[in-house]
């Protein structure tokens, strides 16, 4: 548990992590920042996406692990998010930065 990281979204912590959008199966870690910025043309505003992610439980300090990847382009992904399972597209996942503590062998 990295309680010290919880709910802190300062940029220096964010720079420690990698985007969830690029993670592979088995990657696990703690969310360090949620921004709503996906880097692609947005269908909804960044602020709106950020709030949706937060409401689904993608919040700084939450544990994520990539459980499954889709067949085509390894998209979408299914993640364990604390004690729930959530499916999302890589595009939205890229708004979430994670400090991974374990990567697949």
């Amino acid at each position: 548990m990295s309680d010290a990281l919880a709910f802190d979204s300062s940029t220096d912590l964010a720079s420690l992590g990698r985007s969830l959008g690029e993670a592979s199966r088995g990657d696990a870690g703690v969310i360090v920042s949620v921004t709503g910025q996906t880097g692609a043309a947005e269908a909804v505003e960044a602020d709106e996406l950020e709030r949706r992610l937060l409401e689904m439980g993608f919040v700084e300090g939450a544990h994520v692990e990539v459980l499954h990847e889709g067949l085509f382009g390894r998209d979408p992904i299914a993640v364990r998010l604390d004690d729930t399972r959530v499916a999302l597209r890589r595009r939205e996942a890229s708004a979430v930065t994670v400090k991974f503590d374990r990567t697949p062998t």
């Binding site: 919880a6 709910f7 979204s9 709503g36 043309a41 947005e42 269908a43 909804v44 602020d47 996406l49 950020e50 709030r51 949706r52 992610l53 937060l54 409401e55 689904m56 439980g57 919040v59 700084e60 300090g61 459980l67 499954h68 990847e69 889709g70 067949l71 085509f72 382009g73 390894r74 998209d75 979408p76 299914a78 604390d82 004690d83 729930t84 399972r85 959530v86 499916a87 999302l88 597209r89 595009r91 939205e92």
Partner: protein, 626 residues
């Protein structure tokens, strides 16, 4: 207090909570209703009201609402929830008490919603539902502390077993009297920082009150390793659907033969015991041949629903949506379109209504427009009749029924054309961006046998009532049209050619001759507008009236001697696309609030149906099936 309670007016209680927490199951348990419950998000898209009477004789009106993660409504179904809770619905005050229904095994997110609900200022109870699962997992929740932290009474419930209901009712009723916690609403849309703060507070409460389960669910992960395996997953999904359609054919046959035999015997008995003439013809040809030809499909429809219910209740639906997401996205469909489209296999009407979970207008309209291309259960009678009459009952590769294979092909054509149409809409007309897609994958559960049986029973009742309410009166009308007027003296052709039906069919037939339809097929399309399966009943009556042996010859036997294979295939192709269902068009009008979209739907579907039937007919004729 009981007498006092009885003199108080009725109170209104609303059920709110995250999707899939068991609100509708609780609503059904409390009010004795039979609303649909299933193990995935987005099942309830409307507000539903029911009532119960407490032990003290007081009436409580219960409101079931669509599930949501926040009051910040984003899609039409969530707007309903927000407005109902805040008392913004026209002519409807805010509920007296809120019951926040939580999945006890998944409290983290709902605690944040609880904090939001507190700002609304209605007294509320927190119902920890699915407490059976929590106990099985050895999850320990400090109820007293939790109650103190959130400042509301807590009850534990098992909605599917009706446990904890009395306690819930008592607590809710007490709040209607004490008004504890009531204040003016201070709720407004939270910004990101406020959501984060609420999360932190919810997290603190969660840590303080909930100890992690001793025996956490591990089976879901193991099942998902197989079912969501990138390569095997899609194959398993395809196999499941395939087995489903095979079963619809092979399992149903004995029961269908029984029903068919029953109606033939009944028609024979009527023929033998009623005097030859108008009345006998009316009962045997009009009622028995018409209604019987539809009712015979009950076993198939029940088998189809049985499979769908198992998939829904187990939690597989959300996985199917995950597996299909890329394919659907490639066709320009929204990630949440999968479940509305899948419900459309039962009937396009609930499918179109469940598009309310889609937030973006263009995404929602696209889904509505293609939903009727998914093969609804009312097409089963049409498909089965024609397949049974024209496709030999042989097996392919030793184990596949050829008839089942053709059926699968028809379903597949529906799905593929839905994808193509949506692709055209999204790439040509509405080129837009892709909406975010996030969905919880629920824990797998054994389907509740009671839920499955009740649902099947409801389905059977709907089907039979439809046969009685819609099909029966139409059959009377069609029998009249097919019987009167009598042919003139000295007429040579069959009597039915001189009837209204014959005349009318003769008018339409030239339009449909290029696609290989005879006048009987043409006339069957008209009453088929009311309900697709009526086309089968119409054929039943039209051929029974014109056949001296009447209703005792099986309709499929008559058809196979009267239609060419090319015409039969053309009829099937027509039915894959034809918008022959006035109720569906009505729902589209209601959901889009305009006549434009039903018109667009009707025109594009008729055009596709005509083209497909034309191509099928001429290809078949060229191949020698004319």
């Amino acid at each position: 207090m009981s007498t006092e309670a009885a003199t108080l007016g009725p109170a209104r209680i609303a059920l709110v909570g995250n999707p899939n927490s068991g609100k509708t199951a609780l609503f059904n348990a409390l009010t004795g209703s039979r609303q649909k419950v299933a193990n995935y998000a987005g099942v309830t898209v409307e507000r539903k009201e029911g009532a119960l009477t407490t032990a003290g004789g007081r009436t409580l009106r219960i409101l079931d609402l669509p599930g949501t993660y926040s009051l910040r409504a984003r899609s039409p179904d969530e707007v309903v929830t927000r407005d109902a809770i805040l008392g913004r619905l026209a002519g409807e005050p805010a509920p007296d008490v809120l019951v926040c229904v939580a999945d006890a095994t998944n409290l983290r997110l709902v605690l944040r919603l609880v904090l939001e609900l507190k700002q609304v200022g209605r007294p509320f109870v927190l119902a920890l539902n699915m407490y059976d699962i929590a106990q099985r997992q050895g999850l320990r929740i400090d109820l007293e502390r939790l109650g103190a932290e959130i400042g509301a009474p807590i009850v534990t419930t098992v909605a599917t077993r009706k446990r904890g209901l009395d306690d819930l009712i008592a607590q809710a009723e007490a709040l209607t009297i004490s008004h504890a916690g009531e204040h003016a609403s201070t709720w407004r849309e939270p910004n990101a920082a406020e959501i984060r703060a609420a999360h932190a507070e919810a997290q603190r409460i969660f840590r303080a009150c909930v100890k992690p389960p001793e025996r956490p669910d591990t089976i879901t992960g193991k099942i998902d390793d197989v079912l969501l395996n990138p390569a095997a997953g899609l194959l398993i999904l395809a196999t499941l659907l395939f087995v489903m359609f095979q079963a619809v054919f092979t399992w149903a046959t004995p029961a269908m033969d029984l029903i068919d035999g029953g109606f033939a015997a009944l028609a024979g008995w009527v023929g033998a015991h009623l005097p030859e003439g108008l009345l006998g013809s009316f009962i045997a040809d009009g009622l028995i041949a018409g209604v019987g030809s539809v009712l015979v499909f009950l076993p198939q429809i029940l088998i189809l629903f049985f499979f769908i219910l198992l998939l829904e209740d187990s939690g597989y639906m959300a996985r199917a949506a995950f597996l299909m997401d890329k394919i659907m996205g490639g066709a320009g469909l929204h990630g949440r379109a999968f479940i509305p489209l899948l419900s459309s296999f039962a009937c396009a009407i609930p499918g179109i209504m469940s598009t309310r979970v889609i937030d973006n207008r263009h995404d929602r309209l696209t889904t509505i427009l293609v939903a009727p291309l998914m093969t609804c259960s009312a097409r089963i009678p049409v498909y089965t009749l024609i397949i049974g009459a024209f496709i030999p009952q042989t097996t392919v590769w030793g184990f596949l029924s050829l008839q089942g294979l053709v059926m699968f092909g028809l379903y597949a054509s529906g799905i593929v054309s839905a994808l193509l149409v949506s692709f055209v809409i999204r790439k040509v007309f509405w080129r837009g961006t892709v909406e975010p897609f996030m969905m919880e994958l629920p824990t797998y559960r054994w389907p509740e046998p009671r839920n499955v049986l009740l649902n099947l029973w409801t389905r059977a009742k709907i089907f039979i009532t439809r046969a009685g309410r819609i099909i029966l009166p139409l059959m009377v009308l069609i029998w009249v049209l097919a019987t009167f007027p009598y042919p003139p003296e000295g007429a040579t052709g069959p009597a039915i050619d001189y009837s209204f039906a014959g005349i009318l069919g003769g008018w339409i037939e030239p339009l449909l001759r290029p696609i290989g339809f005879n006048w009987q097929m043409s006339i069957a399309l008209i009453p088929g507008m009311a309900a697709r399966e009526v086309a089968v009943a119409t054929l039943g009556t039209v051929y029974a009236v014109s056949d001296p042996d009447g209703a005792t010859t099986a309709l499929s036997t008559v058809l196979s001697s009267q239609w060419s294979l090319a015409s039969a295939l053309s009829f099937l192709a027509w039915y894959v696309f034809a918008p022959q269902c006035a109720p569906t068009l009505g729902v589209v009008k209601r959901e889009t609030n305009s006549w434009l979209w039903p018109t667009v739907m009707f025109v594009y579907m008729v055009a596709l149906a005509y083209l497909a039937a034309f191509a099928t007919y001429h290809t078949a004729v060229a191949l020698g099936a004319g």
